[in-house]
Every structure is written in C-alpha cells, then in structure tokens.
C-alpha cells in the first residue's frame, strides 16, 4: 500500500532534517513549481514533494472522477502520503487551493500536522452576498472555455480521457511539460472543484497555527479574502507580501523563503 501511494502521487523526498515539510502544489501545475523554494529548507527539514493524482507525473490510471469531484479527495491524497511515510508534526506548505486541502486534512487528522503555511489561500472564490471572493460564476465558466481552447491542439491528438493513449507516450510527456497535466478532462474537473469550492465553514475547526501569505494585487485571492481568513482562523498570522500576482514562489522566491523561515523561527501561538 505505502509504495503504491508513493508511486501513485510521484512522491519525491529530499533534505537532511527530520521535521517533515510537505509541499502541496496548486491548480494548474505540479511539484516542480516548488523548485525555487524547497532547496532553501533542505538542510533543516525533510522535504516531501508530490503531485496530486491527475497532475504532473502521477499515476493517471488512479484518477477517480468521484473521488476528485471534491477537495476531500485531494485531502485524502495528502493523508495517504502522511500515512505511507508515517509523517507526524508536518509543516504543510500549500499553494492556492492546496491551502484549503491542508485545512481539510488537518481537521481530519490533527496529530499529523504542526503548522499550516498558506500561499495565496482562498476559502471561496465566488462572491456570495456580503462575502467577497473576487469572482462571479460567469468568470469561472469563461476560464473553463479558455482552458479548453488551450488544450484544443492536444485534445485532438489525444483520445478522450477515458480511453488512455498508450501508443504515443511522447505526447503525454510534451503535455506534462506544457501544462503539468496530460489530461484535459482531469484538468477541467480540477478547475471546477477548485473554483467552485466553499470551505468557509471548516475554518472555525482549524486548531493549528497558520501563516497566511497574502500577495499584492492577487486577482485569484484578493486582500479581502486574506483579511477574512485572518479573522476566521484564530491561530493565524497574516503577512502582506511585496510580490504581486498569485505565484510568489515563482515570481519572488527570495521573499517567499524569507517569510516562511521567519515564521518557522518565530514563537507563534502553539497548537
């Protein structure tokens, strides 16, 4: 079972330390997005990287559209990895949607986690009455169309998702490099699950200390969302980053590393 999970989620382990740092990628990419960040921590921590089933070099045959129709399915990936490696006191670093995946996993098995570090988190992307998430439903539908347009070249080469194409593996490889996913259908479902998720009610159950890394001018997770999270998560710390956009771990790795390190060294409120 344990080796199956490690293969299924393409788990890679680096580092010399014993405290595990688990990096969870967001929607639209895979574990390589952490490549500018994790080396800074390899001296002191055990670095665990992985791809969610359906992303990167994970085992696509393990994709189950019922399981991954819900962020809980992704949280189950995280917990499976923790169980397979017998990880405890994990420092969970999640980008974007993975922040909420970490929230779900930490509520389900609190003993596995020590801290949650969230980069550009949002508990809900779509505006809802007084809540401002930044998007309307229509925006999300248009995103799905944009994605389809960008997958069109590939989608016509590749057989539909349910008939796996084994004869032309080079296509798969090329697509992994281009889009971090070989399967437009999976990518679409991930987009839907991500942008239609609502995890606001889970926030009150989070007991772990957490760091909210709020970027400047981030369309995906605007300031209001960062403030909302800070108010809902009683054991959280909010930092406003100079980095703009939604991917500070790629656009501003130094600032990202500095803030994470500063947080890990500070005496924030214990769990």
């Amino acid at each position: 079972m344990s080796t199956d999970v490690l293969k299924r989620n393409n788990v890679t382990i680096h580092g010399k330390g014993s405290t595990p740092m688990l990096f969870a990628h967001g929607f639209g990419c895979a574990q390589q997005m952490w490549r500018y960040i994790w080396p800074a921590f390899e001296e002191d921590y055990k670095i665990v990287l992985f791809d969610y089933v359906g992303s990167g070099r994970s085992d696509l045959s393990a994709y189950n559209s019922e399981r991954y129709a819900n962020l809980n399915g992704y949280a189950e990936d995280v917990l499976d990895i923790c169980r397979a490696l017998d990880l405890r006191d994990v420092i969970f670093v999640g980008h974007s949607v993975s922040s909420m995946v970490g929230v779900i996993a930490s509520i389900k098995e609190p003993d596995r986690f020590r801290e949650l570090i969230m980069i550009g988190p949002s508990p809900r992307y779509i505006n809802d009455e007084a809540y401002l998430g930044g998007f309307e439903r229509q925006d999300i539908d248009e995103l799905l169309t944009t994605m389809e347009k960008n997958y069109i070249g590939w989608a016509n080469f590749l057989a539909p998702a349910i008939m796996k194409n084994d004869e032309r593996p080079e296509l798969g490889q090329e697509l992994i490099d281009s889009f971090c996913s070989t399967d437009p259908v999976i990518a679409r479902q991930f987009a839907e699950v991500t942008f239609l998720s609502d995890n606001r009610r889970d926030l009150t159950h989070v007991k772990h200390p957490s760091l909210i890394m709020q970027c400047s001018e981030d369309l995906v997770a605007p300031y209001e969302v960062g403030y909302y999270l800070r108010d809902q998560l009683t054991t959280s710390t909010l930092v406003l980053m100079n980095a703009t956009g939604h991917c500070p771990h790629m656009s501003a790795p130094d600032e990202t590393i500095h803030l994470i390190r500063q947080y890990l060294q500070s005496n924030h409120q214990p769990a």
Partner: protein, 388 residues
C-alpha cells in the same frame, strides 16, 4: 510586447496598441493583467506565468485580451524569457485569431458532442456490467440479511425468555438448598451455594448484556432527527444513576442535530460516559470533553473506488482517565473484552458503541495513552444514506 516578472509592461509595439485601442504611453508601466479579461487573468496566473517561468517559454497559448473599450479580443501568444540590459524580460508575440477562433469554436463544439457520446457509451457499458454484478451480490447479501434478521429475533427471544427461565430455576433451587437445615450448619457447603448465587447473578448479567447487544441489531426504531446535546444530557444523568458516581464534569460544545435512532444514540453516549467513569484515574478528578465538527467523509465504506463525500459529524470524546496501551485499541471494542479488572463492567460498553455506530453507517476508533486518558472518535453521517 515585453513585461517583467512583476507583470509590468516594458515594451509594446504599434500593432498591439492599435488592436487594443491604447497608445504605447498608456500601456507602458501598467500591469499585463490590465489588458486581460478576468478569466484570462486566471489562466495567466495558474498556467501562463508558471509555465513561462518554469520552462522559459510558452507557445500557442490562447488568451482573451481586453481593449480600451472593454471588448474581448482573441489572441494567440508565443513567449520566451530573455535577459536584456541585465533585466529578465518575458517577450511575447501576440496575434489576433478571429478566424481561427471560429474554427476552434466549431471544432470544440463537435468534439464535445462526440466525446460526450463516447463517454456516455463507455460509461453506460461499464455501468451495465457493474450493475449486473452488483445486483447479483446485493441479492445474495439481502437474502443473507433477511435470514440473519430472523435469527436475531429468535436469539433475542431466547436471551430474554428461554434462557432466563433455567437461570431463574437454578436460583430458586440454590436458594432452597442454601436455607435447608441439612447444610445450614455446614459452612463448607454454605460457601458453595453462595458461589452458585454469585455465578447465577453473573450469568444473568451476561445474558442481559447479550440481549441488549442483540436488540440493537433489530431495526424496529425508525431514523429521526435527534438533538445530540439533549441526548447527551439525558445520557449523563442515566450514567450517573447507574454507576452512582457524580464527581466528574462533562464539557461539550457545538453538538449538532443528526438523523439517528434516538434510543441507540442515547445508549452510545451513556456507554461512553460509563466507560470513562469505570476507567477513571483515581488520582485526578474525571473530566470528559466532547468536541464536534462537521467534516465531509466518503459515505461508501465497503465498495472500493466508490466515492461520495457527505457531511458527517466528527465526535471526539476525550477523558483524562487511565487510558491503555496503544496495542489494545482494537481489542477493547470486542464483545466482553475488558482491560480493567478492577471495574465492575462486563466488557460490553465499547462493543455496544461500535455496534450502534455501524448501525448508523458510521465508524468508531479509539486512541489512548496509558496513564493519561483515551479519546473515542465517532464519525456519524448527518443524514442517513437513504434520505440523502
């Protein structure tokens, strides 16, 4: 056009300016995202920029750009990174693709229809064979369950009547013996009859416990909406009465209402509290903390590869009692298994709890630390499966 890693536009040519209706001065120094539609900004943040940054180039990316008059214009973009004058710039060649977009839309549309039909067909075929297989299995299981259910009714009757009668008789005759003149003077024989009494009493308790266990299996009570906090309050009183122990406190917060069988859920709470009382630490005052959270759990337990996430209440019943060694976590929920030889209980409480929880399609697990208490984790569906 060119922009830096913060997204700031550094250069833009006349073609792009004209296509968007801006002057170069209006665009330089502005964020690239400003000339994208909202959905294209999302795609830019989640795909375009990460890919450009990681691979050093992107090719044939489709994005909708926003003109000065807020019109959406379809563009195809190729980009790569280059160091110019000591600064890393992202250079992009942008083409309008009005014509191509039309073809693509048609292509996508027909592809979608085709794929949907194909998926449905493949899905239907696999569902059909699954269904037949499952139906066969289900039928076997249902007939076994009906059989089992009859047996439970019989067993219940045996335990509540047929077995009680011989136990009662043994008691009566032992009593006659005990009080007969012949043995009233023989202390040895009197000690034997006393042992018979005690054994009969224990047999009666065991039978009663078994009957309770079996009766939980008979599904006479219907599911209804139950208030967990009300049931807990009643269970605390009941447990206090049965154990004649009052020196403890219970702290519970946020217990919701769920669908369940009220008498069974009440019994579950009562047994959990009784268990904590019986295994309390004599050196510190017993404190039981009950926490509740709603989480989504897969409602399929036995079927592999089936997922349906539904709301469950996660109850955590934590005490500061004696606890036990980790390796006994499964043992303690077995019927008549008990670790604490000091307690008066029959080793029945947690087995009953597990039975009740599985009757509600939930799960129960126990974690304990020897000397510092145990935590019972109960996961119960908020709505019972057939009522979803």
């Amino acid at each position: 056009m060119a922009f830096d890693d913060t997204g700031k536009i550094n250069f833009v040519n006349a073609f792009l300016c004209e296509a968007l209706g801006y002057t170069a001065e209006e665009l330089i120094g502005q964020s690239f995202e400003r000339i994208l539609t909202i959905s294209s900004r999302l795609f830019y943040q989640t795909h375009f920029f990460p890919l450009l940054r990681l691979n050093g180039k992107v090719s044939e990316i489709f994005l909708m750009l926003r003109s000065k008059t807020a019109e959406s214009i379809p563009f195809m973009i190729n980009g790569h990174r280059e160091v110019i004058g000591g600064q890393v710039l992202n250079l992009c060649a942008c083409f309008t693709v009005w014509e191509r977009q039309k073809y693509e839309n048609e292509l996508l549309e027909s592809k979608k229809i085709l794929q949907k039909a194909l998926e449905e067909n493949v899905l239907l075929n696999s569902l059909k064979s699954d269904l037949e297989k499952n139906q066969q299995q289900l039928d076997q299981q249902i007939s076994m369950l009906i059989q089992r259910s009859h047996e439970y009714v019989q067993l219940n009757k045996v335990l509540s009547h047929d077995l009680q009668e011989p136990i009662r008789k043994i008691g009566i005759y032992a009593d006659i013996l005990h009080h007969s003149e012949k043995i009233s003077t023989d202390t040895q024989l009197k000690a034997y009859t006393q042992r018979i009494f005690e054994t009969v009493e224990r047999l009666r308790e065991l039978t009663n416990c078994l009957q309770q266990f079996v009766s939980v299996e008979s599904h006479e009570e219907e599911f209804a909406t139950v208030q967990l906090d009300t049931l807990l309050a009643e269970a605390i009183q009941e447990a206090t009465r049965v154990t004649d122990f009052t020196d403890f406190s219970v702290e519970a917060a946020g217990l919701p209402q769920i669908e369940g069988r009220a008498s069974q859920i009440g019994m579950l709470f009562r047994e959990l509290i009784k268990n904590a009382i019986e295994n309390r630490n004599p050196t510190s005052r017993l404190h039981i903390r009950i926490g509740a959270a709603i989480v989504e759990e897969n409602s399929y337990h036995a079927s592999k590869n089936k997922y349906r996430y539904t709301d469950h209440v996660k109850l955590e019943v934590k005490d500061n009692g004696m606890g036990f060694e980790k390796r006994y976590s499964t043992y303690v929920t077995g019927l008549f298994n008990k670790l604490n030889s000091e307690s008066k209980g029959m080793g029945m409480g947690l087995a009953l709890c597990r039975q009740i929880v599985s009757n509600h399609y939930g799960t129960l697990s126990i974690q304990a630390v020897e000397g510092s208490g145990c935590t019972v984790l109960v996961m119960l569906p908020v709505k019972q499966p057939e009522n979803l």
